[in-house]
């Protein structure tokens, strides 16, 4: 296998097999991706930090292990890009914020530790909306990421860097985090695959928290099988995360291999369609539903009436938790310290540091959350939002009594233009209207590309939602639909992306 140009267009599964078979070295694969980054990332800006030396050393270690006859993991030697919200020892971790500029964690997140343990080669850290707050990656303190399908458009957010890195063939794999859709919505608008695992299915240890009860790390890939392989590496119980589920994970790789929806009952969520959804998005979604029926699934419509309140509840719970989670960035121990001229009090230095270090969206949410948790307002806001959350969980439970999985468009529109919504927080928040309910319920979901919207030629994503701990169902449906679409098109949708 070679030349380098071909290497970067392979799936992680294919690369891993080739490396294991000795057809190509991990160093060659890694080098090819590093070169691709050099070629295109000045335009895409998916990466905040590239660790070429560390990546090549990790690749060499895999090559040596293979030469020594050691058993290799299923993705050993394959490169990956990691969202800059996960702690990486010896590499900066900025969360897209000035306040953490230059900070190098003294420890690895559990996800990162598992990647390294599996011989997966970390290329670097990807761009994101500051502290994962946003749907366009425009709220990064280090400049936006551009959508590889159209560089004037957003790659989604908050994990736009991870999605763009995969979509631009800079990396076959990436790790994202999903608090309200930050893996799935970028996947949808970049024509890639993104999975939000069951809450507690992947350790949050080392994931710099936005909203602790919603955050979950997961795979960003170009194929459903690659997502399953990566999911199985990073998933599973971690005693360092109290909210990590002790039960064993379902076999997601086997499910992706089976790729079978025959006899499955699939629910269309009435509330996640219609008004506010772009015509071309609905058209491609409807076509995909027909394919699922052709493949042998029974598709029915279900109603989840409280989903209409999900966005409102989410924008109380998330800011509340984030106002507390982000308190520690006070300039006392690490990261930015502003205004410490020797005369100022500790309160003044903390205040000046936060004023200088946080961007507008972060400040907006900290203020919202501080207000929502305030004495006298708690019951009306945070308390009420938790009740809505319970109702949404019940909607899901009732729906899953009738069907095996639910589906909807992942995002209401295709990628919008950079700058189009950055000054309109409400319009920005509405991008996540279809993805948020899953986070509030703690369930799992997968987004995969189902075609290009006729009106703008941009990718459309379909979201599959399954109950907690039934992540395997995502892969059964996702892989079956992906296979049928590939048969129809003769290739993956991402192959249609313009050359950069």
């Amino acid at each position: 296998m070679s030349p380098a140009a071909d290497l970067v267009r392979q799936s992680a599964a294919v690369l891993a097999e080739a490396i294991a078979a000795g057809e190509v070295s991990s160093r060659e694969v890694t080098q090819a991706h590093l070169e691709r980054i050099v070629d295109v990332d000045d335009r895409v800006h998916a990466f905040l930090h590239v660790d070429a030396q560390g990546a090549l050393e990790a690749a060499d270690a895999v090559d040596r292990a293979r030469a020594a006859g050691d058993a290799l993991g299923p993705l050993a030697g394959v490169p990956i890009a990691v969202k800059d919200v996960l702690a990486t020892r010896g590499m900066p971790t900025t969360c897209g914020s000035r306040i953490l500029e230059g900070w190098q964690p003294p420890y690895d997140a559990t996800v990162v530790e598992r990647l390294r343990g599996a011989g997966i080669v970390i290329l670097g850290k990807t761009n994101m909306d500051e502290f994962a707050m946003g749907s366009s990656t425009e709220h990064s303190a280090y400049g936006p990421t551009h959508n590889p399908w159209d560089l004037t458009r957003i790659p989604g957010g908050s994990g736009g860097g991870s999605a763009a890195a995969v979509a631009s063939f800079e990396s076959p794999l990436a790790i994202g985090t999903d608090t309200g859709g930050s893996i799935r919505q970028p996947a949808a608008v970049t024509g890639t695959v993104g999975v939000k695992p069951t809450y507690g299915g992947v350790s949050r240890y080392g994931l710099v928290a936005l909203a602790s009860s919603l955050d979950q790390a997961g795979p960003c890939t170009r194929t459903v099988m690659d997502a399953a392989l990566l999911h199985s590496v990073i998933g599973g119980h971690d005693p360092r995360d109290s909210t990590s589920i002790p039960e064993p994970m379902p076999d997601v790789v086997a499910a992706a291999q089976r790729a079978d929806v025959r006899g499955m009952r699939i629910g269309l969520v009435r509330e996640l369609s219609g008004e506010g959804y772009q015509a071309g998005v609905l058209q491609r979604f409807t076509e995909a539903v027909a394919i699922l029926e052709d493949l042998g699934a029974e598709v029915v419509e279900v109603s989840c009436p409280h989903f209409d309140y999900a966005l409102g509840a989410y924008y109380l719970i998330l800011p509340s938790e984030c106002s507390s989670n982000l308190a520690r960035f006070d300039g006392m121990r690490y990261g930015l310290r502003a205004g410490d001229n020797g005369d100022r009090s500790v309160e003044e230095v903390m205040s000046l540091t936060r004023e200088a270090g946080f961007g507008a969206e972060v400040k907006r949410r900290i203020m919202l959350g501080t207000y929502a948790l305030s004495s006298g307002y708690y019951d009306a806001y945070y308390g009420q939002a938790q009740k809505v959350r319970t109702l949404i969980q019940r909607d899901f439970a009732a729906a899953f009594d009738q069907v095996d999985v639910l589906i909807s468009p992942t995002a209401p529109t295709t990628a919008f233009r950079l700058g189009e919504k950055v000054d309109d927080p409400l319009a920005m928040y509405l991008n996540d209207v279809a993805t948020i309910p899953v986070n509030l319920a703690g369930n799992c979901a997968l987004s995969l590309p189902v075609g290009l919207a006729p009106e703008d030629g941009l990718p459309v994503g379909l979201q599959v939602m399954a109950p907690a701990l039934a992540d395997d169902r995502l892969y059964l449906v996702g892989a079956a639909l992906e296979g049928a679409l590939r048969d129809r098109w003769g290739h993956l949708l991402i192959e249609e992306a313009p050359a950069l």
Binding site: A87, P105, A109, Y205, S242, S323, F329, M332, R333, S375
Partner: protein, 503 residues
């Protein structure tokens, strides 16, 4: 500023209401939410990790031992144990708090509605008082700030401040009383007796070393005054109360101060005050007029705590005897009074005496050795009596030797001197130092004859029936044998020699 009013006078005009918040650092091996060690006195910031430093991304995992300890404390204080409760975050910015929030408990404490019956010593004898416990909850300790430069010792005005996060994350238990009313002039003594009883309970449970001087037991005293028949007054919260004596003094000082304020027609300010051990007065700290909004909410990084009823009952079944009950029982068993018991408790030798009695030594002898000789040596060496190199078995052996006549009291002291000096077991010391009662009758008779010859007038008195005069001769013999004789035996031989009987 109004002057304080003397205590007795203050109590004529006002009734005090007190409330006590006691923080106990648990003696777990590791911190509340991470695996860092908890030992006192390590180099600053050496007992830390990403979790207790609150580094971005780190997550807490609750210490099972700490949860067990707090449930045992709750049970010992007759509390109800929650079937389900959560930790909460208490949000405020302060540099001793790595996360700028403290993981604590708010509206779902793990233990509620308990009580503790205490005995308060008074001039008119002991008085029983029931202290109602509002709640017992767990939280993590903060780091420790040291302020350098400036003359306030506080963060404001300091040139710079140093933070030691070794203490951050050590499990703390907060025990809050309900308002204690109607104790009148006993209020300071009640406060002291309550804290002392709590300390004893913690020690008996083995959950904390409860050393007030090292801060492992800290007390905040709330005091308010009202005129009889009036509603309760505004309270102050006095911190920095770091000894039992200070608890009593601080409550007393606040009563005197507030009485002066109220008598002068002013109003008491709701505030935090600091107690000064040296001067015995309190001074104002942070004003609580504008109550800080801590924005409590359930800690989403931790799962709820739901102790099963079976587990709670298991823990209840293994609770140790209450210290006050145990003291009363032991006092009865040993036939001693309150004063003697208090002496043992204050000397910190009660456990040692009990162990010594259990080793077969008579209670009187066990008490005599521990509260006399050993307490003195421990004080000289500035160590805990329990850390002296002498065991209950050693005392048992020496008492055996005394009973058999091989040692007398004076020699026994010399044996212990050797044991405490590390010279070995009592038998080894006896052998090495050649300490044995002179029991050779001929040697004793020779000494008796010599003493009689020296004091013929005394000899005559004894012969004439004044047996009590024998002491002078016995004393001379003991002196001549350098104490290595059995005084009883000397006396018997002497009387036999002179042909008189012990009437």
């Amino acid at each position: 500023m109004t002057d304080p009013i003397p205590f007795d006078q203050a109590l004529q005009a006002f009734e005090p209401v007190i409330g006590l918040e006691v923080h106990v650092e648990l003696g777990t091996n590791t911190k509340m939410f991470c695996g860092c060690p908890t030992g006192f006195g390590a180099e600053p910031n050496t007992q830390t990790c990403p979790v207790c430093l609150g580094l971005p991304g780190s997550l807490p995992v609750a210490n099972a031992q700490a949860i067990e300890s707090i449930i045992r404390i709750g049970l010992a204080l007759n509390c109800d144990i929650a079937e389900w409760c959560r930790m909460s975050r208490k949000n405020y910015f302060y540099p001793d708090m790595p996360k700028d929030y403290q993981v604590s408990q708010y509206d779902e404490p793990i233990c509620v509605d308990g009580h503790l019956d205490i005995t308060v010593p008074t001039d008119d004898g002991p008085v029983e008082v029931r202290i109602d416990i509002e709640r017992v909850h767990m939280e993590e300790d903060t780091g420790k700030l040291t302020h350098a430069g400036g003359d306030t010792g506080r963060i404001h005005g300091a040139d710079y401040s140093l933070v030691d996060y070794n203490r951050a994350g050590i499990p703390l238990v907060e025990i809050v009383t309900k308002p204690v009313v109607g104790t009148g002039r006993l209020a300071p003594a009640v406060a002291r007796a309550y804290v002392a009883e709590l300390r004893d309970i913690m020690r008996a449970l083995g959950v904390s070393d409860v050393k007030m001087e090292e801060g492992s037991l800290r007390c905040d005293a709330n005091v308010s005054l009202n005129r009889p028949g009036d509603p309760w007054g505004t309270r102050s919260e006095t911190k920095n109360v770091n000894s039992l004596r200070s608890v009593e003094r601080a409550v007393r000082a606040e009563i005197e101060r507030q009485a002066g304020v109220l008598d002068g027609g002013e109003r008491v300010v709701q505030e935090t005050r600091h107690f000064h051990e040296d001067t015995g007065v309190t001074t104002p700290g942070r004003s609580k007029e504008h109550a800080e909004d801590y924005r409590y909410f359930p800690e989403p990084d931790l799962v709820p705590i739901a102790p099963s009823r079976e587990w709670v009952e298991e823990l209840r079944a293994t609770l140790p005897e209450r210290p006050s009950v145990r003291r009363a029982r032991l006092a009865a068993e040993w036939g001693i009074g309150d004063f003697e018991m208090a002496t043992l408790v204050n000397a910190g030798v009660l456990d040692l005496v009990e162990a010594t009695v259990a080793a077969g030594v008579a209670p009187d002898a066990a008490r005599k050795w521990w509260s006399g000789e050993f307490t003195r040596v421990a004080n000289e060496r500035d160590v805990d009596p329990a850390d002296l190199p002498v065991t209950p078995a050693d005392i048992g052996r020496v008492e055996e030797l005394i009973a058999s006549g091989a040692l007398n009291d004076k020699l026994a002291r010399q044996v212990f001197e050797g044991v405490l000096a590390g010279e070995g077991t009592p038998d080894e010391v006896v052998a090495a130092r050649g300490l044995a009662v002179v029991s050779d009758d001929s040697a004793l008779l020779a000494a008796i004859d010599a003493a009689l010859a020296e004091q013929p007038d005394v000899a005559e008195k004894i012969r004439s029936g004044k047996v009590q005069a024998a002491g002078a001769i016995v004393g001379a013999v003991m002196k001549a044998t350098r104490g290595q004789a059995d005084a009883g035996k000397v006396r018997a031989l002497l009387l036999e020699r002179l042909g008189v009987s012990d009437a």
